[in-house]
Amino acid sequence: METTVVKSNFKSEEYFINMGPQHPATHGVLRLLLTIDGEIIKKIEPDLGYIHRSIEKMCERDSYQQIVHLTDRMDYLSSHINNEAVCLTVENALQLELPDRVKVVRTILSELTRIASHCLWWGVMGMDVGALTTYFYGFRDREMINDIFEETCGARLTMNYNIPGGLMFDIHPNFVKRTKEFIAHFKTKLPEYDTLLTGNVIFQKRMKGVGILSKEDAISFGASGPVGRGSGYSCDVRKHHPYSAYDKVTFNEALKPDGDSFARYQVRIQEMWESMNIIEQLIDNIPEGDVQVATNAVIKLPKGEFYQKVETARGELGVYIISTGTKNPYRVKFRSPGFSNLSLLNHIAVGGKIGDLVASMATLDLVIPDIDR
């Protein structure tokens, strides 16, 4: 192909623009300082801290039961899984043996959370690349899951249904029926997602070959969740370090080797199928039994350091607690998936256009309160 070199007297100059903190495509209060040359991105500097609430410091003030509800407010789209992570850490430290019912219910709720989160992601990602209909369809299906949560847990987003030692109360009698209804409903709707968006050539042109992340880079940046798996990096915590009832179910880890935005998209669509598969294996035989193990009213962890990681909808969430044997933790550290996934944005979007940056960011699925905490 011939290239024409236009000789011009105009001088090309780099300049800065702010993307955010109130930009709709950043999905929250994230400020990106872009160095651009025309339409080409030269450098991206994320500026964090707009929604920093010092949750880790507040955890040092609170008792172990009270920490749980703060984690709702980190990654609010997978709040149940965050709660589970803290509870599992405390339970492991106390060496509690949980009843099977607790494990199974937690797993079902976690997978429902994952579907709800991916539904919302699918909706807003479509909107980012210019397809408004996806937003309404994604939210329509997420609404059914929110109803399930509202009936069983009492809240739609910040559930706080887990407590150290089990669940706050038993599941609602309608829970099984509603979940089965949702699975039957969603099995007919998920193929529609593919018809509407996945097969669309305009959409594929926005996604394929955009924001390429190699497997080596995914590992070195600490990418996890669908971002890592879209680059062919097998990093599913549910598979490699099973917790709750994940060792009892069979499921495939969604892996795509391409590493571009479309691969990350396909991984998330595949994960929704796998989540439905997991729920179907568990929903029919939830074991009977208690939903709580008795703990002391004031929980004191033994002296030491405790770590537990779980797979949220965004990737690997690690909870690290240092205890000195008192009723409050000495230090709590959350290893959040959003932070490390944001760190690779500069790597994958430099050299591309601004429009491609929006598409890359949409498939990273950033939740800003998770990054800032």
Binding site: H69, E150, E151, C153, G154, A155, I163, L197
Partner: protein, 158 residues
């Protein structure tokens, strides 16, 4: 050549996608997707576990079940509950006994975590399903849960 085939494929897949939206356009009835919230207030029923705000139920004799043990105040992560208590002489035993003067609930601070209701040994406080809590003045969000002149139900011990 690929330019024209791309346009052709683009239009074709666009129409495939529009078959989905067209189906909903023709078949969905009114209210199939949208919740008609402010218009359906009369019939709207929340789930019984929905966390709207904390209330203290009173029976017909203006008696509640709160003994003033302050377990909810301790369980609350952000100081939404303040119990102002006093000691009163129990009529049956003649001994001094703790009783609540005011059970103050700051709705504006509450994160609806539910730990206070879990901690309550006598089920004195429960969730109400009322969720329309907006006010013009934030002082209205500070509520006293026990009614004036109310007293604890006989036989309630924590």
């Amino acid at each position: 050549m690929s330019y024209f085939s791309d346009i052709y494929k683009g239009i074709k897949t666009l129409l495939t996608g529009m078959s989905v939206t067209g189906k909903y356009f023709l078949t969905s009835r009114k209210g199939a997707i949208t919740q008609q919230y402010p218009d359906n207030r009369a019939t709207l029923k929340m789930f019984e576990r929905f966390r709207g705000e904390v209330v203290m139920p009173h029976d017909e004799n203006n008696e509640h079940q709160c003994t003033g043990c302050q377990k909810c105040e301790l369980a609350c992560p952000n100081g939404s509950i303040e119990i102002i208590w006093d000691r009163a002489i129990d009529e049956t035993t003649g001994k001094k006994k703790k009783k609540i003067d005011k059970h103050v609930y700051h709705l504006g601070l509450c994160t609806m975590c539910g730990l206070c209701i879990e901690a309550c040994p006598t089920d004195a406080i429960v969730w109400a399903q009322n969720f329309e809590n907006s006010t013009y003045d934030r002082t209205q969000l500070t509520k006293v849960l026990n009614r004036p002149g109310s007293k604890v139900k006989a036989g309630i011990e924590d």
